[in-house]
């Protein structure tokens, strides 16, 4: 079943002011039900590409169409209610003097009525698990985990269909990473958001992402279901990415009958039991 894409990137090229061509004729689509990991080596264009998706960067060539709107000609207020962007460092995106104003900042920019703003703030805070006692706190003084939640809530309050999260697990330990990713999965499954994560953490990708868009030197090298892309180590190596260990193990022992697209330990266990039985 092919659904119409919500967002489509068409032959997108992007050149920085210093002349560096960061993206070259990139094309891909995002549709309902997508949970995508944008991966590739440092400098492959992941962050640049993601910033083109909501009009933060305007294409040098090609175009990005979101919900029928061209990012080149659409005002930023129309874009941000469709595509939300969570920056890696919460400190870059918290600039209000209390948590309530912080979350309300986006909706107020869109000039929603104050009742609507209140409703959105309360809902967003509830979704990320911030109770009302935090509303009067200064975001600056909250611990990092909470600051990140405030940052996500401030994007959720705009109710964008697509949520892009830049390196959600960097600087987190594994347990914290799993909590964040479980939360994004909840947003995806229960609230119908299209999720795009930018990450280097392959175990996280194999565990959570349904689809991989693989970038190398500004070009798209592969695009497909996670297990299919991970099953092509030679293409991954082009952009200095290696599949997670368990996938590598399955690939190294494919001659024994293991599936080279294996993503998880328990999948490999099941295969093992099937093979030796």
């Amino acid at each position: 079943m092919k659904t119409t894409p919500y967002l489509s990137v068409e032959n997108l090229s992007y050149r920085y002011p210093d002349g560096t061509l960061a993206l070259r004729e990139l094309s891909f689509e995002l549709a309902e039900g997508d949970f995508v990991a944008l991966i590739g080596q440092n400098g492959s264009g992941k962050t640049t590409a993601s910033k083109c998706l909501n009009g933060l960067f305007k294409p040098t060539e090609g175009r990005v169409i979101v919900d029928g709107l061209d990012t080149r000609t659409t005002s930023i207020t129309k874009m941000v209610v469709r595509v939300g962007y969570v920056f890696q460092n919460p400190d870059h995106q918290l600039f209000n003097s209390n948590v309530w104003d912080e979350i309300a900042y986006g909706p107020r920019n869109i000039q929603f009525s104050e009742e609507e703003v209140t409703e959105r703030v309360e809902e967003a805070a509830k979704v990320v698990g911030l109770n009302a006692s935090y509303f009067t706190e200064h975001p600056f003084f909250l611990p990092k985990g909470l600051r990140q939640r405030v940052a996500i809530a401030s994007i959720l309050a705009l109710r964008p269909k697509v949520i892009i999260v830049d390196e959600p697990t960097t600087g987190q330990d594994v347990k914290q990473s799993l909590e964040i990713m479980d939360f994004l999965t909840y947003l995806h499954q229960e609230r119908g958001h299209i999720i795009v994560i930018i990450t280097h953490d392959m175990p996280i990708v194999s565990r959570y992402a349904k689809r991989i868009v693989l970038l190398g030197q500004g070009r798209k090298l592969a695009d497909g279901p996670t297990s299919e892309v991970f099953a092509q180590p030679q293409i991954l190596a082009e952009t200095f990415v290696a599949p997670p260990q368990i996938t590598q193990l399955a690939q190294a022992t494919a001659e024994l009958g293991f599936d080279p697209g294996t993503l998880r330990v328990n999948e490999l266990l099941t295969q093992f039991e099937g093979l030796v039985a």
Binding site: L56, D91, H92, Q93, L94, L158
Partner: protein, 291 residues
């Protein structure tokens, strides 16, 4: 073309500029910036601008980047003119060149405006020249070569470095703000100003959180702050720059030109406004030769 980032822009990796020792470049900026303070004659100040543009071109700076300074220069000229004419008050003793919306434009005040403007402009051009052809490192090399104490150069470097970081943070914060629907278009100046104040919070937060680690990093690499009391330390970077005969000659030429300007100005009474071609031309144009 491979470009090297400078403080303000980009210079090609291959530029004749790199043959000149950084100290000479800093010396040039410092000395030639003095000229407009000594010179009144507008045509000579314009000549300094031409020299700056020539040097920009010689250094292979992309001249189209200069376009961003055009509005600044023009609006500054406009403000100077405005402050000297419309906002300059009523002076019955001055000659009225023309009237605009009932405001008298005095000849003397226009001349004063031209004088100020043509002295400010070369300083801007020289600074743009320096900043778009020099990297932070050039400044440090120049200072160290001139035996400025290491602590001072290090503090300058850290200041420059934090400016770099703040600029980077600033651009991300602005993106983050845009990503939440802030649209500066069509907003009032007061609104934008308030917005600017908002940036201070995240920039301050980022700086504060980093400063701890910054201090740790310095300590962890064995730097102990001894004040101006110099501990003998090697200077590896300086060894990569050679101060050649040519550099010495350039410093001599720059110094001599300063002496020359001083002599012409104060010894011979030249380079003044009164004797300048511009003034004669302005007289002809604004006074119709009535003087």
């Amino acid at each position: 073309m491979k470009m090297n980032k400078t403080i303000l822009g980009y210079v090609p990796e291959e530029s004749p500029l790199y043959r000149i020792h950084p100290f000479v470049r800093v010396f040039f900026l410092l000395v030639v910036s003095l000229f407009p303070m000594l010179i009144n004659a507008p045509e000579w100040n314009l000549a300094i601008i031409v020299l700056a543009i020539f040097l920009l071109k010689y250094s292979r700076v992309n001249l189209s980047t200069l376009k961003i300074y055009v509005p600044v220069s023009l609006s500054m000229g406009f403000l100077i003119l405005l402050s000297h004419t419309v906002l300059g008050g009523i002076h019955p003793e001055f000659y009225v060149s023309f009237k605009l919306f009932g405001f008298p434009f005095y000849y003397e005040r226009i001349v004063a405006a031209v004088d100020v403007y043509t002295r400010v402009l070369p300083m801007i051009f020289l600074t743009v020249l320096f900043l778009s052809t020099s990297r932070e490192r050039d400044m440090l090399v120049a200072m160290r070569w001139a035996h400025v104490p290491f602590v001072v150069t290090y503090l300058v470097a850290m200041a420059l470095r934090s400016v770099g970081m703040v600029i980077e943070d600033f651009s991300i914060v602005r993106q983050a703000e845009k990503a939440r629907g802030f649209d500066p278009q069509g907003k009032s100046i007061a609104y934008k100003l308030r917005q600017f104040v908002m940036y201070i919070i995240p920039l301050f937060a980022l700086a504060l959180r980093r400063s701890d680690e910054f201090a740790n990093a310095i300590v962890a690499r064995g730097y102990s702050f001894t004040g101006l009391r110099e501990v003998k330390r090697p200077d590896y970077i300086l060894t990569q720059y050679r101060f050649r005969v040519r550099d010495g000659l350039l410093v001599a030429i720059i110094s001599l030109s300063l002496v020359g300007v001083l002599i012409i100005r104060f010894g011979l009474g030249g380079l003044t406004l009164e004797g300048s071609l511009t003034l004669q031309w302005l007289e002809l144009w604004l006074k119709g030769g009535a003087a």
